[in-house]
């Protein structure tokens, strides 16, 4: 199975990864190979197999609803690039 340049460019935008024209050509080949491998897997008969959500044969433990965390804002904000009034500052984004 092949993947188009447009698909690669779209996925790159969604993943916020910058790729230039040359890289797209290389990725076309590499990703195409990966998709071929997936195609081979798809050939296996899985009709009687239930889709798996997790490789471990275990179920999730739940936690009681009790506050266990304390305020550590100062420690976390010490490693943030910019803060003010207790807020983390980020480049302006308005959707």
């Amino acid at each position: 199975m092949s993947i188009s340049r447009e698909d690669i460019e779209k996925v790159a935008v969604l993943a916020r990864i910058k790729v230039d024209g040359e890289q797209v050509s290389a990725l076309e080949k590499d990703l195409g190979n990966i998709l071929d491998l997936v195609d081979q897997l798809s050939a296996a008969d899985t009709d009687s197999v239930e889709p798996m959500a997790h490789p471990l044969d275990a179920v999730q433990q739940l936690r009681p609803d009790v506050v266990t965390e304390t305020n550590q804002r100062e420690a976390f904000q010490a490693i943030a690039p910019a803060t003010e009034d207790g807020l983390y500052l980020v480049p302006k984004v308005i959707e």
Partner: protein, 483 residues
């Protein structure tokens, strides 16, 4: 051309847990920015989520209350998108295997009929943080206290056909989750947020039209306005021969305007996949039965009981049973005031009017059900007239005095109901008004007679310094004047 309106809703309900869905951080509202955002909430490397049992319990209670199938095995997935108030770069949510499967809610319509609105499913997910776009040197401020707050997103089938029906459903859902105690229902703090999907189709057609989604409506009034606005916008386009573009829109309630946020072509591709950090959650019979045992009386059952137990009419029972806190207030009033109809009238009249005027919720009311009940008792046993009772209510509300009987004494509002004393006053007043008495006795028309009777009441109330029981005065007058 005549059009059918088709509406489906997605409702985000914030669950009233103490802690977040995947961490032990507090969810208390109003804390200083980022003081309740810890390593898991901030998506620090090496942290792992552990789901909150209470969030599952609340979701299961919601499922049981909406006649839904409970997802015995539910799976969390990652919904991937980039936004600064979402530290992980994905929202942990459920997609193919949600905790609550198909169910329904019945709503009462204005014409007295009932309509069933089907719920497609409800899933558990985490809320995002808040972005503050005020100017921080050209940057945005991020508060992550809300990040990780548990939500259930309730998705309905497109079963509503007017703004009234959509609002009736939204109110019913609000009444349900607050009665269950799984959500505080405070819309102004974003505890419930509505997305409305709207499409139009030619009347009677089976084919659905292209829909738009209007996001993030946080009051019933805005929801009603946004639907009216969007229906009109779509109708104008269709009647001009245009085509509706599938898109997400934002509605500005203050200006009654909407604008496109993104179209289908620009729609996010969320690339969902099962979250490898979380195992499937299995819910067993014991968990479900425990949740069932915690279900309180629900609004429909409460309404039926109010009609049966207190003899309320359908309207009064509907108003008083809808809100869990108002219901409790009503029952406390009746417990202390006995006369349920009178209690219902005072709560829907004076009490609700004062709450609205002061913009207070029932929980913030300065008077208790016990106090209103004591006042109702004094109205029912004729100690105070209804005009006097309003003065007592005012004194209770302003906090001048918290005891009904003490207020009645202090303000001299006690009605004179001693028949002997009242008769003496009537005799005296009638003796001073011989012309009016003769006029009354010569009048044959019972309607005019009744009206003339009122002419004696003024002097009587004056003679009794406003404290004579008007009902008794009336009875005595009719008897003395000869029918």
């Amino acid at each position: 051309m005549q059009w059918d309106i088709v509406i489906g809703l997605e409702i985000h309900v914030q669950l009233a847990t103490q802690t977040k869905i995947f961490s032990g951080s507090s969810t208390a509202y109003g804390a200083e920015p980022n003081t309740q955002a810890n390593a898991v909430d901030l998506a620090m490397p090496g942290t792992l989520p552990v789901p909150n049992e209470q969030a599952f319990r609340y979701a299961v209670m919601f499922g049981l209350a909406t006649n839904a199938e409970i997802g015995r095995r539910s799976v969390f997935e990652r919904k991937n998108y980039f936004y600064p108030d979402l530290p992980k770069g994905y929202q942990t949510t459920q997609l193919a295997q949600p905790i609550v499967g198909p169910g329904y809610v019945d709503i009462d319509l204005a014409d007295g009929s009932t309509k069933r609105v089907r719920i497609h499913h409800a899933h558990l997910e985490e809320d995002a943080g808040k972005s503050l776009h005020e100017d921080y040197h050209g940057m945005s401020g991020i508060d992550l206290n809300r990040a990780g707050t548990p939500l259930i997103e309730v998705v309905t089938e497109p079963d509503m056909n007017s703004a009234d029906e959509a609002v009736a459903f939204a109110k019913k859902l609000h009444s349900l989750v607050t009665s269950l105690g799984i959500c505080d229902g405070d819309m102004s703090q974003g505890s419930m947020r509505f997305d409305v999907n709207i499409s139009l189709k030619p009347k009677g057609s089976d084919t659905l039209g292209t829909r738009t989604e209007t996001k993030n409506l946080n009051s019933f009034r805005f929801m009603e306005q946004a639907i009216a606005h969007e229906v009109e916008r779509q109708m104008d386009i269709l009647e001009d021969g245009g085509r509706i573009v599938q898109e997400t829109r934002l509605y500005n309630g203050d200006r009654d305007e909407s604008r496109s946020m993104r179209t289908k072509e620009e729609a996010n591709d969320y690339r969902y996949f099962p979250c490898p950090d979380l195992l499937p959650v299995e819910i067993d019979d014991a968990f479900i039965e425990d949740a069932r045992a915690r279900l309180p009386e629900l609004p429909d059952a409460r309404k039926a009981r109010f009609k049966e137990q207190y003899g309320l009419n359908d309207y009064d029972a509907g108003v008083l049973s809808g809100d869990a806190k108002l219901s409790a207030f009503f029952e406390e009033t009746v417990e202390h005031g006995k006369d349920a109809k009178l209690a219902a009238n005072w709560i829907q009249g004076e009490f609700s009017a004062r709450l609205n005027a002061d913009e207070k919720s029932v929980a913030e009311a300065p008077i208790s059900g016990a106090q209103l009940g004591a006042l109702v008792t004094r109205i029912a046993d004729n100690t105070v007239s209804s005009a006097g009772a309003k003065k007592v209510f005012e004194a209770l509300w302003s906090g001048d005095n918290d005891d009904v009987d003490a207020i009645i004494d202090a303000k001299g509002l006690k009605q004179v109901s001693d028949t002997g004393a009242l008769e003496a006053m009537v005799d005296e007043v009638l003796a001073g008004m011989p012309d009016q008495v003769a006029q009354y006795q010569n009048e044959e028309d019972p309607k005019k007679r009744k009206k003339m009777l009122g002419g004696f009441m003024g002097p009587l109330m004056k003679a009794s310094k406003g404290q004579g029981n008007p009902k008794l005065f009336n009875e005595i007058l009719v008897r003395k004047l000869g029918g």
